[in-house]
Every structure is written in structure tokens, then in C-alpha cells.
Amino acid sequence: MLPRRILQFLIIYVLGICALLALKYGAGLSDYVIPGPDDLWRTGTEVFRPFGLDVLNTLTVAILGQVISVVLAIFVGVAGRRATWFGSFIKVAAYNVQAYPIVALAPILFILVGDGWITRLLIAAMICYFPVLLSVLGIMSEPVEDIEHFYRVTGRLRWQLEVKIRAFENLSKLTTVISGSATLAFAGTIVAEFIAANAGIGYSIRIALYQSDLSRILAALFFIGIVLSVYQGLLEITGALVRRTWAGV
């Protein structure tokens, strides 16, 4: 499963590069608009080590950010699941924060928490949490009548149990969303690095952009893709494992 995933990523990547090269030769674009294959290859070997390390650096932040965001999303999703005033208030707050693009919030964030690692983490978590939240809200606000009935009528339906039942009944949806959201945590971390950090692959992309070096950007995309495929694959395997052990299938 994991090797397949990586193979699939490679296919996509190669297809993308080929499309760009076709465009380059088709439209006769010069090397500074789209770099040629030799340039790509040279850059690729050159940045192999540094970008590899950068991506791993980014990955650590992304993983942490994802954990935070999943916890946050579950928290907000659980708090906002009811159709009460407070529930909808929580939802409005959570939605609005999301609507503000990070770039607009960044200055305020810098004022509040300063710069560095925490900001990077926070931005990653903010970008990642919302999609998880949407799913959690959808799942948590729909009763599973045929299971909950007994607990409700016998006065046993604490919120923890309610949440547990709904999570369990939608386990495969939840694991899909959570493992998929790794992608977002990654993208979020990169954005954060882009605007606020001095480490990580996002920072390298910013420098490459600033130096107008498309081959470096393409190389960075390659590393991002590989590492993400692996991480995502591992998450999916974990998801399957959780399903297996919890559901005893």
C-alpha cells in the first residue's frame, strides 16, 4: 500500500514535469521561465540533502500541528454540535476565525505570541483544523437513534458517551478526514514558514521564489510530495488499525 502510494505520486510528479516541459518547448519559453531538464536534474541532486532535511523539519511541525488541530476540532465540534444558542455561537466563532486569511491574521498573531516556533505551529493548526471541524460537526450533530435510545431513556447519555457512539458509528469517515487532513497540516506549516519562519521547506520555497528559481520550487514540491505520501500512508494504516482494534472487525 505504501509503495503503491509512492509510485502513484511519482507518476503524477513525472506527468506534471512532462507537461511543463512540453509547454516550454511547445511555446519556446526560455530557461528562466521554465527550466530545462538538465537544470532540473542538477538542482535536484544539489538540494537533495538540504531540502530533505527541510522537509523533515516541516513534517515535525506539521505532525504536531495536526495533533493540535484534531484535538481542537473535536473539542469545538463536540461543543458546537447542539442546536442551542451556545452551540451555534461556538460554530460562528470557529467559522469566522477560519474565514480570515492567515496573511491578515499574521500581524495580530505576531503581536500576541511573537515569532518563532509557536507561530508556525499555530498557523499550521489553524489551517488544518477547519476541515476536520466540519466533518466532526456533521457527524456529531446527527444522532444514532437506534443506539442512543436506550441510554437516553435510562438517563445514561452523558455527552462523552454520545460523542463516543457517534464517533464509533462514523469511524471510517473520521479516519478518512483525519488522515486526509495531514495534507492540510503540511500545507499550513509551509504557509507559516513562508511568512514567519527561518527554517523548513516553506522558507526554502520563499527564498527560491525570491530568487525566481523554478527548478528549486519544483524540487521542493517533489520532496513535499514524497514525504507527504509516506506520512499519509502511515496515517491510513494507523486508521485501519484503529478501526480494526476498536471495532474488533
Binding site: H149, F150, R156, F168, G248
Partner: protein
């Protein structure tokens, strides 16, 4: 105890015809009673109405001495994350553990306490579900086709056990089996279509208990009354 309905009128939102059209009855003795009637006549609806699941009806439901009324039906499920046995022990009120064990035995479920609910057969699910209601505190328990997917022998054993263990409680057993309700139930509330008046009539059953012999003739008589009433 007393359970009295007076002039109940109810129509499902969006449906054309009244389901209950002045339904009324009074039940004053505890015991194992039945609700009987053709499919679609309103048994489930009546049960939900008596236990708070439907509340936009007109008319009165007066209840005395039945503070806890539970409704259980045959499509309920247990959560899937641990075995049936674990779930049952978690929801056993303190002091009822022995009762639970007796019921597990009588329900023929002894071998299935380590299984997950989703791996049980339909009849096994029915039984597990009913069992967990029985060990709760209640004065009235409505069993909506709770044993519909259980074989007759097991069902008989279950009914006799329930009657023996909970002589003071009130049960409303919804079933499509005439012989069964006539045999085991004390009073049978026969529901009829809304055009008929009264919409519900009581018929007496044989209320058979453990170790009691059944009078075949009187049973035939009860069955006939039930069929005639419906």
C-alpha cells in the same frame, strides 16, 4: 397503578388520515399485558405516545404509580466497541448483577457474552436488547416486537422468566402472534382501525405462568375473542 388514555387524537404531520380518532382505555392492574392489532394499525405509535416519543397529540394520558416508563423495540443496537457482556455489566444498576446472570441464562445467551453485538444473529440481538431493559428500574416496559426474531421455544422460556421475575411490574408486549398473546398475557389491548369505535378494546388472556397448566379450551376462547375484536 393506573394508565388511562382518554379521547386520544393523533395524525402524523403530513399524513392525511387520523391514526387515533378518540382512542381511550384504562388499565389498572400490573402484569404482563399485550397490544395487538394488524400491521400499521398504530401499535408502535401508541407505545411512543405513552412513553413521550410523540407529544403533539390531543387528549389525555393519565398515569399513576408508573413513574418510569420505558420503550424498547427490536431494531435497537448496542455500541460496537466492546463485547456484549462488557456493555451489559456497565449498564447494570448496582445490586442487579444476580438478576442479570439469571436472565442471561434464561435467554440462552450464556455463550455470547464475549461477542460483539454486530456478530450476533438477529434473534440474539433481540434478546440482548430486551435483557438490558429488564435489568433497569422501571414500572412500565413496552416491548415492541422485542422477540419477533426469536424462536418459539426460547421465546416461551423468556416470557415465563420475565413474568416470574417481575410480578409487580407492568408490561405491554407488542406481538403479531395470537397464540402467544392469548397464552401469556393477562389483558390484550386490541387496536382497531380508526373507523371502528371504540378504537381499542380489552380482551382477557390466559396469563400462563411457569409450572401452570394451560386450559386448551379457554385458550381457544381467548384467541377467538382476540380475532373477533380485531
Amino acid at each position: 397503578m393506573r394508565l388511562a388514555c382518554r379521547d386520544i387524537r393523533y395524525r402524523y404531520p403530513g399524513s392525511e388520515n387520523e391514526l387515533f380518532n378518540g382512542l381511550g382505555f384504562v388499565l389498572e392492574e400490573p402484569g404482563f399485558h399485550a397490544v395487538f392489532g394488524p400491521s400499521g394499525v398504530g401499535k408502535t405509535s401508541l407505545a411512543r405516545l405513552l412513553t413521550g416519543g410523540i407529544d403533539d397529540f390531543s387528549g389525555d394520558v393519565a398515569v399513576k404509580g408508573l413513574p418510569i416508563r420505558l420503550y424498547s423495540h427490536n431494531l435497537e443496537r448496542l455500541p460496537g466497541w466492546s463485547s456484549v457482556g462488557k456493555h451489559l455489566s456497565r449498564i447494570t444498576p448496582p445490586g442487579r448483577e444476580a438478576q442479570r446472570e439469571t436472565l442471561v441464562e434464561a435467554f440462552g445467551l450464556t455463550g455470547f457474552m464475549d461477542s460483539r453485538f454486530s456478530r450476533l444473529s438477529l434473534g440474539q440481538r433481540n434478546r440482548v436488547n430486551l435483557l438490558r431493559y429488564l435489568i433497569q428500574h422501571f414500572q412500565l416496559l413496552i416491548m415492541d416486537e422485542s422477540l419477533a426474531n426469536v424462536d418459539e421455544q426460547t421465546r416461551e422460556q423468556i416470557l415465563l422468566t420475565i413474568k416470574e421475575m417481575f410480578p409487580e411490574s407492568c408490561f405491554l408486549y407488542i406481538s403479531h402472534n395470537v397464540v402467544e398473546v392469548a397464552t401469556f398475557c393477562r389483558k390484550i389491548l386490541v387496536l382497531r382501525s380508526p373507523e371502528k369505535s371504540p378504537q381499542a378494546v380489552f380482551v382477557g388472556g390466559q396469563d400462563r405462568r411457569k409450572d401452570a397448566r394451560l386450559d386448551e379450551r379457554r385458550l381457544q376462547q381467548s384467541m377467538l375473542e382476540i380475532v373477533n375484536a380485531s
